[in-house]
């Protein structure tokens, strides 16, 4: 048949050249790598390859963590940290989304606030902590203000650029059907900007954790940052690592929550 290869001709399949460039996550692999690293570390410590002064074994860190739980200090440190983080980050994000929407929607707000926001965004907020201490005192307010400020600016920028990137054709369509201004904002601009807002929240949550620890290191009795600082000054490396572990888990938890929100609200994206 004409469709068959000619007899005797050299035939070979066309090599596959597509594929790749689509990395996927696989929770089994990530878990295996994680456990593997811990086991390697434990083995290294037991074999004396890793000095216990530089880096205590995972089992010792676990003991330190268990101590924290047993003495009830874990909850004491964690609760104040979560309170500071929660209040600062949530308020900063809400205010950031509001101001970002204003900049995205109104010429006056954009003219007045855009440059200011860009200028203040670049200032490391930790440099403002002493100022906040002068203003608000050494108590909770100055720490919360630092976190609030730190998460406010990235959220503003993510929100207004999200609004800017909403498909203009959709807005024009809505106008052509006579939708009210409020409906356009609620039903088109907000959902259209949501992907950008959520990825802004992801970034601002990481910044908030950094600022939380920094603020707690400067003047706090309790809190994960304070705990890490105390451990460091006593050279209690096992406690220090335990503190860092708690922070890592906190970061993972927040990222998981945002991931869930993305899956819940952005399921319309392919």
């Amino acid at each position: 048949m004409a469709d068959d290869p000619a007899p005797g001709a050299r035939v070979r399949p066309v090599p596959f050249r597509g594929g790749g460039f689509r990395p996927q996550t696989n929770s089994y692999v990530s878990l295996a790598v994680f456990i593997g690293l811990i086991l390697l570390w434990e083995a290294g410590s037991r074999a004396g390859l890793i000095s216990p002064i530089a880096l205590p074994a995972p089992s010792q860190v676990l003991v330190a963590l268990a101590d924290l739980v047993r003495t009830g200090m874990l909850w004491k440190h964690l609760s104040v940290s979560l309170m500071r983080l929660g209040v600062g980050w949530v308020l900063g994000s809400i205010l950031g989304i509001l101001v970002g929407l204003l900049i995205g929607l109104f010429t006056i707000a954009r003219a007045a606030l855009l440059q200011l926001t860009s200028a203040l965004f670049a200032v490391p907020k930790i440099a403002l902590l002493p100022l906040f201490i002068v203003w608000f005192g050494i108590g909770e307010s100055s720490k919360i203000a630092t976190i609030l400020f730190g998460s406010f600016f990235p959220t503003v920028i993510a929100t207004y650029s999200g609004v800017d990137n909403v498909d203009r054709n959709l807005i024009r369509m809505a106008q052509s059907f006579g939708l009210s201004w409020g409906s356009i904002v609620r039903k088109i601009i907000l959902p259209g900007a949501l992907p950008a807002i959520l990825s802004g929240l992801r970034i601002s949550s990481a910044i908030a954790i950094v600022l939380l620890v920094a603020a707690e290191m400067i003047g706090a009795q309790f809190g994960i940052g304070a705990y890490i600082l105390q451990a460091g000054s006593l050279f209690a490396i096992d406690q220090l690592i335990a503190g860092v572990t708690i922070l890592a888990v906190l970061g993972l938890a927040i990222s998981w929550v945002i991931g869930r929100a993305e899956r819940r609200f952005l399921d319309w994206r392919s």
Partner: protein, 256 residues
């Protein structure tokens, strides 16, 4: 209700885009506008529906819109303009929600337009799950839901493959036969123009003026069968358009 363009002219900065366009879209009439790329067809259509203001001239409404029309002048866009986060039904509800119709009336309208566009089974689907032709049918259903007096369509079939285009043209003819809406239909495709238009205005290259107007008084329903006659008409329009298109092409290539 009639829609009249009264000596519309427009410039963007120093570029003159449209000059002295006079067009009337009568009740139940489909008016097609063809013309070379960049001659200002889309700009003109935006002006007809009040999405953009002309530098000179004005768009006028004559008579009252029919009772019960929620949005007398309604667009159908080339890129469908569906909200990706709303289902088929949600996209149709979007344009009804501001009118406070009550749940029952809303359900009735949505059910009715979905049925007329044969989309009832897909009411819960998201736009990304639909083919191009189905997306445009959703956009048509959405337009029908507000009971328009005039539909403004900017190359509504251009993003579709030729088979889908044929099918949708049949659908449009069927819908028109039932509802007798009026329409201004902008297209590049002369076959569409002679198939759907009661009148075809040929625009010149930029600045767009009306070069010629061709009346086609064959009933829409018969046009699928009388393809040969239409072919001649299409050829006639193409001969008018050819020089304009050539000249426009050269101008664009020159970067002027």
């Amino acid at each position: 209700m009639r829609l009249l363009a009264d000596r519309i002219g427009h410039r963007y900065g120093t570029t003159e885009v449209l000059r002295d366009i006079r067009i009337a879209i009568g009740e139940g009439e489909i008016v097609c506008i063809v013309g070379p790329s960049g001659c200002g067809k889309s700009t003109f259509l935006r002006m007809l529906g009040g999405l953009e203001e002309a530098s000179s001239g004005q768009v006028l409404l004559e008579g009252e819109p029919p009772a019960g029309s929620l949005n007398p002048i309604t667009y159908i866009f080339q890129d469908f303009a569906l909200l990706p986060w709303r289902s088929v039904e949600g996209n149709i509800r979007l344009v009804l929600e501001d009118h406070r119709l009550g749940a029952a009336a809303m359900r009735r309208i949505v059910g009715d337009v979905l049925e007329r566009t044969r989309l009832s089974e897909f009411r819960a689907a998201l736009p990304r799950q639909l083919s191009g032709g189905m997306k445009q049918r959703v956009a048509i259903a959405r337009a029908l839901a507000v009971r328009p007096a005039v539909m403004l369509m900017d190359e509504p079939l251009s993003a579709l493959d030729s088979q889908t285009r044929e099918l949708l043209m049949d659908d449009l003819v069927e819908l028109w036969t039932r509802d007798r809406f009026s329409a201004c239909y902008v297209t590049h495709n002369l076959a569409e123009a002679v198939r759907l238009g009661h009148r075809v205005h040929v625009l010149s290259r930029r600045p767009g003026r009306i070069r010629e107007t061709v009346e086609i008084d064959m009933p829409l329903a018969e046009r699928a069968e009388r393809a040969a006659e239409l072919e001649a008409m299409q050829r006639h329009i193409w001969l008018i358009m050819r020089e304009e298109a050539r000249a426009a092409d050269r101008e664009l290539a020159d970067g002027r």
